[in-house]
């Protein structure tokens, strides 16, 4: 996978959290995702296809999902219900859409978001895809974004982390 792709998701997530939720997020970790277990409790998945094919998974800790939905709907949520799931799906749609726009030359189309809750599920990328996972801190808790495309991984994680554009 062209590692520059991940930058677009980082930048887009930062923009979506700032614009829609009014919160700043801080990137804290970058790693190859080697487990199909979701990073957090509420995960939204969107497929992207064009000159490359892949998926993005945005995994929200429960509190981030609850607070994020509350901010958008001006309500308080105690449980992850249908409204929270919808809000999480839409936030993920906007993150994927922003990254897609930055990869215009890939001529990507977005799928519709699917949201899974709980940690008893597994999310598998195609066998030849090694997704990269980026962790973020938010004022409400943690979020992780896993991005995998069926392309050749270029560069190693140290190189990726050293790229100025990755540091958000």
């Amino acid at each position: 996978m062209n590692v520059a792709f991940i930058n677009h998701f980082i930048e887009s997530a930062t923009n979506v959290f700032d614009t829609m939720l009014g919160v700043q997020i801080t990137r804290k970790s970058l790693s190859l995702k080697d487990s199909p277990a979701p990073t957090h409790e509420v995960s939204a998945i969107i497929g992207l296809s064009g000159k490359v094919v892949g998926s993005v998974v945005v995994s929200f800790s429960s509190n981030v999902a609850l607070k994020g939905a509350g901010e958008m709907l001006l309500m308080e949520f105690d449980d992850v219900n249908a409204e929270v799931v919808d809000a999480v799906g839409e936030l993920t749609n906007m993150i994927a859409g922003g990254a897609k726009a930055a990869m215009d030359h890939m001529e990507l189309s977005l799928g519709l978001p699917n949201v899974v809750c709980g940690r008893d599920h597994r999310i598998f990328f195609p066998g030849n895809v090694k997704p990269i996972s980026v962790g973020f801190d938010t004022p409400w808790g943690e979020v992780a974004i896993d991005v995998g495309f069926n392309d050749v991984l270029e560069g190693n994680l140290e190189d990726i982390a050293a790229q100025e554009a990755v540091t958000v």
């Binding site: 979506v16 939905a69 919808d86 799906g89 839409e90 749609n93 906007m94 994927a96 726009a101 977005l110």
Partner: protein, 123 residues
């Protein structure tokens, strides 16, 4: 002022309704649909003054609905509110007859400004 609001996300419809109500639109003047097909069906039933629509939706997407509405009505303002921001997509929407375009994510001010432009203050 009767408004057709088409988006598969209830969250986004709620945000847009909140803005419309602040502009003085009455609650019973907003009709909601969660995809292009139901949006088109509602359009054919009602006498709408403006259509707000998402692009990526199940069953029928917003661009297809836009083309269908334009084949029936060349004048009604249709505003697309979408994550689709690539030049080719915007051009496709313009060619299909979109009246205005707002990219998600948007600030409350940006949404308000866009709707103020199309929804008269005297509603």
């Amino acid at each position: 002022m009767k408004i057709l609001l088409v988006d598969d996300s209830g969250t986004m419809r709620a945000i847009q309704k909140r803005c419309l109500f602040k502009l003085g639109v009455a609650e019973d003047q907003v009709v909601e649909a969660d995809n292009g097909q139901t949006g088109l069906a509602e359009f054919e039933k009602g006498n709408f003054d403006i259509v707000l629509t998402d692009w990526n939706m199940p069953v029928m997407d917003g661009l297809t609905m836009l083309k269908e509405i334009r084949s029936r009505n060349k004048d009604i303002p249709i505003i697309m509110i979408t994550t689709e921001s690539e030049r080719a997509r915007v051009v496709a929407a313009i060619e299909a007859g979109v009246s205005d375009y707002l990219v998600k994510p948007y600030t409350a001010d940006a949404l308000n400004a866009k709707l103020e432009k199309w929804v008269p203050a005297s509603v």
